[in-house]
């Protein structure tokens, strides 16, 4: 379908594409979909329990983007808006998250589980199939941990963008991300023991 798009559409920024979609420009909308569908699908899959729900969320996301493009306010980050729409769509399918009433694990304990104080951290990424092992460790995390890593480390959203998507303060976002990364390292540690 790319060959049907004009150069101006292919080179437009996301905010411009959303603005043009809001005025009914199907080519701009198509470009936006093609640009972000894989990322939105991955993000949705990180929030849902199965592929079918993720696919449903993917479709709902872009339908909602088409319908509500006019509500997008340009100065905001287009990607954070898009991921917010995707989050809302995905969480319609996902089960309500369990509120964790337990005390959060002390950072020192989490660090120790992640390999602080041992010689093994160097070994975490040694060997073959790093991509597969990282993906598997990510899949083993709780949804909250996985989500923040997907947004910040995989999709590359800024701290401000990710905190906007998640409805967290920047400091809360940073804390969640740090703990999620440590749990990921702990998961990798357990795998090589």
């Amino acid at each position: 379908m790319d060959h049907l798009l004009g150069e101006a559409t292919r080179s437009a920024g996301d905010a411009e594409l959303i603005a043009r979609a809001a005025s009914g420009d199907r080519a701009a909308f198509t470009e936006l979909v093609e640009r972000h569908r894989a990322a939105v699908h991955r993000y949705a899959r990180s929030l849902t329990k199965n592929d079918a729900d993720a696919e449903d969320a993917l479709q709902r996301t872009f339908l909602a983007v088409w319908r509500s493009a006019a509500t997008f306010r340009g100065p905001a980050s287009a990607r954070s808006w898009l991921f917010t729409v995707a989050r809302n769509a995905a969480l319609r399918q996902a089960r309500p998250r369990r509120e964790d009433a337990t005390e959060p694990e002390a950072l020192a304990e989490l660090g120790a589980r992640a390999g602080w104080g041992t010689d093994s951290p160097h070994a975490l990424l040694e060997g073959a199939e790093v991509r597969a092992r990282l993906g598997a460790a990510l899949a083993r995390l709780d949804a909250d941990d996985r989500e923040v890593i997907v947004l910040r480390d995989l999709e590359g959203l800024s701290g401000d963008e990710a905190s906007s998507v998640l409805g967290l303060s920047l400091s809360a976002l940073k804390s969640r991300l740090h703990r999620a990364r440590l749990r990921l390292m702990a998961s990798l540690q357990e795998e090589i023991r």
Partner: protein
């Protein structure tokens, strides 16, 4: 090992807290200098900080690009969006 060990005026616990901002280059110059001084004198934190940074870099390098949609998913998305101005399909 205890995280309350102090090296260059900074405990290991504080270094652990600062790691994300340190690897992102977001610490103020004075804080950055303190962390660097600690790392220079603390093998445990130097080793762990290096591992932490390597894992974050590997996430970005290895998983930063999402897998393309399968042909089937792509086609069903296109069908769902075929008449996006209408109500739910």
């Amino acid at each position: 090992m205890k995280l309350d060990r102090e090296v260059a005026g900074l405990t290991c616990a504080r270094v652990l807290e600062h790691l994300p901002d340190f690897i992102d280059g977001r610490l103020a110059p004075a804080e950055r200098a303190s962390v660097e001084a600690h790392l220079a004198g603390c093998d445990v934190c130097e080793r762990f900080g290096g591992s932490y940074g390597a894992v974050v870099a590997a996430l970005r390098r290895e998983l930063g690009t999402p897998e393309p949609l399968s042909r089937d998913v792509e086609q069903r998305l296109a069908q769902a969006l075929g008449a996006p101005a209408s109500d739910d399909p």
